[in-house]
Amino acid sequence: MLKKRGDSRSRVNTEINAGSMADIAFLLLIFFLVTTTIEVDKGILVRLPPWSEEEPESADVQKRNLISVLVNANNDLLVNGEPEELSSLKDRITDFITNPTKSENKPKSPDKAIVSLQNDRGTNYDTYLTVYNELQRAYRELRDEEADKRFGTVFDNLTRDQKKEIIEVYPMKLSEAESTDFGEE
């Protein structure tokens, strides 16, 4: 009796029909295809200084260590009192930091250099970000060069300690002054 029953069971095809599985998966696939926005969200990472109500102490900075970059409401650049073009800003900054001619008006060593950035309330955001980008690019290229000299690779591939070593040589000291309010917004 038992044996007979078992026999009849084995004869029936007990497989689950997987044919509709593909349809279900397709449906989900199409849903995700439609909702997907392959959005690569990239940008310039910045750390803001913490807010304090008190006036910042005027740090004793030697004039030769400071390079000031001003951007006015007409999106013109003024670097240490002289007009400058966006396209040559990076080279100017690099030249200031490294001081290849050992000039008296430029810092003795790269780690002393301070970049001061000030914009107007009427400055275009586009221009502001381009200037910021050029400042970061100047430092990134210097760091890459130094990393290549010491470790034979670019800065991004270094270990944490190695990065620290390079940053000590080229620390990016950027000070952002409060925006001026001369131009029209």
């Binding site: 593909a22 969200d41 910045v46 750390r47 803001l48 913490p50 966006l86 955001y125 980008n133 309010d181």
Partner: protein, 159 residues
């Protein structure tokens, strides 16, 4: 020769579709991974500037978005005018609304991860710095110091 042809006609050639679901599932998982479900529709016009020194934003759950730009829709232009506006979440806001908005997000994040919270500023290139400075000041006041100026890779040379 005839023997071969006979054999052939007997068997029915069918392509096995059993592996089709597997292939589809693989694609499905890929798209599920890369999908970012937008939680807010952007109501302002934002074309971010171009830049070269880009960093990728990592954990999406630790990122706040602030949009700044001109209102996109006609009804909003009528109500708010053509001047650039700030969008927080899915509505327009003033700079003074930012600290509360940031705090509301902050308390949903586990305490260990709170220092990693990043604010992504998606600002239109034509906006002037006045409104951006106001936003930056509010961010500093609310202790959100890690920000990311959203930008797209630069095509071609600088001007």
């Amino acid at each position: 020769m005839s023997k071969f042809s006979k054999k052939r006609s007997k068997s029915e050639p069918t392509v096995s579709t059993a592996s089709l679901p597997d292939i589809i599932f693989m694609l499905l998982f890929f798209f599920m991974m890369v999908t970012v479900l937008r939680d807010a529709t952007v109501k302002v016009e934002v074309i971010v500037p171009q830049a070269t020194e880009l960093t990728k934003l990592e954990k999406k759950s630790l990122v706040n978005y602030i949009y700044i730009g001109k209102p996109k829709e006609k009804a909003d232009i009528v109500r708010y005018g053509n001047a650039p506006r700030i969008q927080l979440g899915d509505k327009f806001a003033e700079p003074t609304d930012i600290p509360l908005y940031m705090e509301q997000h902050r308390i949903t994040v586990p305490e260990v991860q709170r220092p990693q919270i990043t604010t992504s500023l998606r600002v239109d290139g034509k906006v002037t710095m006045g409104i951006v400075s106001d936003v930056k000041e509010q961010l500093r006041k609310s202790g959100q110091l890690k920000i990311n100026y959203s930008a797209r890779p630069r095509q071609g040379d600088l001007r």
